[in-house]
């Protein structure tokens, strides 16, 4: 495991929407086997950063994205996923009128070499995943059911399970535990530990420092589009971190 080359590296990435500059000159790298926590107030630009990494947003002129040491020019979501980046988006990214199995394999459908979809396999895989990875308490989890009829937490379950299925090099979780019950939250946090154990990387976004701190190796704090701090866990205690988060919120600066 060569931890010298980052799995993903952003150089000077900015992103502007109209008059709003959501990211400004962000430099970030994630190394193999590393779990990085991303913290920041509402509107700090965390989700924008995630979507830029995924190629959903194109960075402004001058920003560069490097994957495993290679500069990538035509970056898009399909390519990112193919290279092994999976994301659980904050907005879940589900197609709610579609059955669970279609959502599970959205964008990466199983097909045979002639391009014919293997619907049967997708359904059975979906059933397996849903019952193995997420234990549902309601009756609405047959793979043919539309996502529409599921509860908020169940939907989140689909989005999480989907990201697990494809053994990704880098998993990005944008507030994944939102709306999950205690036991499901625990499962998700366990899952993050498994990523690390298997030598893969993750970016973990959450508002709950109690969730983030125990799970990660390193924390990056975003404030109004800028990287305001970057701590190894060994360098900062949870209390110091909370203290410094409040400070950022108050003064906009990490330093006293």
């Amino acid at each position: 495991m060569n931890s010298k080359t980052p799995v993903i590296q952003l150089k000077n990435v900015s992103k502007t929407f109209g008059e709003v500059r959501s990211l400004s000159e962000v430099n970030i790298e994630i190394y193999p086997g590393e779990i990085v926590g991303l913290l920041g107030d509402n509107g700090a630009g965390k989700s924008t950063l995630v979507k830029t990494i995924m190629g959903f947003h194109q960075p402004d002129e001058g920003g560069e994205i490097w994957f495993k040491g290679e500069k990538i020019n035509e970056w898009n979501v399909a390519k990112a996923r193919e290279l092994g980046i999976e994301t659980i988006y904050q907005e879940r990214a589900l197609c709610e009128q579609q059955p669970i199995w279609r959502n599970m394999f959205m964008g990466r459908e199983i097909k045979n070499k002639f391009g014919r979809l293997n619907v049967k396999q997708m359904k059975s895989e979906a059933t397996r995943l849903m019952s193995e990875h997420m234990g549902f308490t309601s009756t609405a989890v047959h793979p043919d059911n539309a996502v529409l009829t599921m509860s908020g937490g169940e939907k989140q379950g689909v989005a999480i399970t989907r990201a697990l299925y494809f053994d990704a090099e880098l998993v990005i979780l944008d507030e994944p535990t939102v709306g999950l019950s205690l036991s499901e939250t625990k499962k998700t946090l366990d899952f993050i530990q498994n990523i690390k154990k298997s030598g893969r990387s993750a970016i973990f976004i959450d508002h709950n420092i109690f969730h983030i701190y125990p799970a990660v190796d390193r924390m990056i704090v975003l404030d109004r589009g800028k990287v305001a701090g970057n701590y190894k866990k060994s360098d900062i205690t949870m209390d110091e971190l909370i203290e410094s988060m409040y400070r950022v919120a108050r003064t906009g600066s990490i330093k006293e």
């Binding site: 009128q97 964008g107 459908e109 979809l117 019952s131 234990g135 047959h142 043919d144």
Partner: protein, 334 residues
């Protein structure tokens, strides 16, 4: 704890949606179709108990069913196409011009299909490149394509009775088994092909995702623009084919070809249970919807309702069919 989870799954989670819930949509349209057929069998029994009227439907309904079926794909992606009647005409004009210029039937035939596909692709390109709703832009391209065709033909039609054309005419619109018109078989074939494309290819899966939630689909790496462009291209291809079928059926190419078919095609798609909001639809539903639409007019006239009341009844039948279809689907879903 895990054995508990499993048992829970067994108790609560493995129940599939009921039969009604899964096939509700198809069931709705089929029952509307059968119900209407029964009514006509009683009110217009002379016509509807002889096979002639069914042969007539088999030859006339495909003229718009062949376009309603691919239109289903476009509607599922959340778009619409109002320009396909003009594409029909422009593609057939291409055939007529190339055939009369070169005398080569197959070159003309292929060229017509290519022109149709390109017109469709052009629509799709406008829609996706500029992000303009298709309902708006295809009103514009409809005038454009029709205008080009009329200017090219100088407004005149062309007869298609040349002996050399007999072969292709027979292929497209000849009569086979029991006198059923070939265009009926073509429509069946189109339904099967598009069913496969929609339900058994990645492109088809993406058609559903695109129409359901564009942003979600994009976030998961679906190239929604490409999906839309291709759906429009498929529409164009079939419009061209339908143009040739319709012209050979009457052995004449009228420059106004297709004008009366717009509403019929659109109504068939929606009657067939495809959602105007995208994300939901079936080609088989559209197939049945086409034949319902095709039968209404003939059925009403044959029932002996006269003259101006036919429109009243046509309207009522459409309204009632759509209501029935909506009520049945809703009932089934809950």
């Amino acid at each position: 704890m895990s054995e508990n989870k499993d048992s829970k799954v067994k108790n609560n989670a493995a129940r599939p949606p009921s039969f009604w819930r899964r096939f509700g949509m198809q069931f709705g349209i089929w029952s509307v179709g059968i119900f209407m057929w029964l009514i006509f069998v009683f009110t217009a029994s002379e016509a509807f108990t002889s096979k002639d009227i069914y042969l007539a439907f088999a030859s006339s309904t495909p003229l718009f069913a062949l376009m309603a079926i691919p239109l289903t794909l476009i509607v599922i992606t959340g778009e619409i196409d109002l320009s396909f009647p003009a594409v029909m005409a422009l593609a057939t004009a291409t055939f007529a011009k190339i055939y009369s210029g070169t005398g080569n039937i197959w070159v003309g035939f292929i060229a017509a299909l290519i022109v149709g596909t390109l017109c469709g692709y052009f629509n799709g390109w406008l829609v996706t490149w500029f992000g303009i709703p298709s309902l708006v832009i295809t009103i514009g391209t409809s005038f454009l394509f029709r205008g080009i065709e009329l200017a090219w033909m100088n407004g005149s039609g062309v007869g298609l009775t040349d002996d050399k054309l007999l072969g292709v005419a027979n292929l497209l619109v000849g009569r086979s088994f029991f006198g059923i018109a070939n265009q009926f078989w073509w429509t069946i074939l189109a339904t099967l092909i598009l069913w496969f494309i929609l339900n058994r290819t990645q492109f088809g899966a993406h058609v559903f995702l695109t129409g359901d939630n564009k942003t979600s689909a994009q976030l998961m790496g679906v190239n929604v623009s490409r999906v839309k462009r291709r759906s429009f291209a498929i529409m164009g291809f079939f419009a061209a084919f339908a143009g040739l079928v319709a012209s050979f059926e009457v052995s004449y190419f009228w420059p106004t070809l297709g004008e009366g078919l717009l509403m019929n095609s659109i109504a068939s798609v929606f009657l067939g249970g495809t959602s105007v909001f995208g994300g939901i639809g079936t080609v088989t539903g559209t197939f049945v919807g086409s034949f319902i639409i095709g039968a209404i007019n003939a059925g009403i006239v044959a029932s002996g309702i006269n003259a101006f009341f036919t429109q009243v009844f046509f309207g009522l039948v459409i309204i009632l069919s759509v209501i029935m279809q909506a009520v049945i689907s809703k009932r089934i879903k809950r």
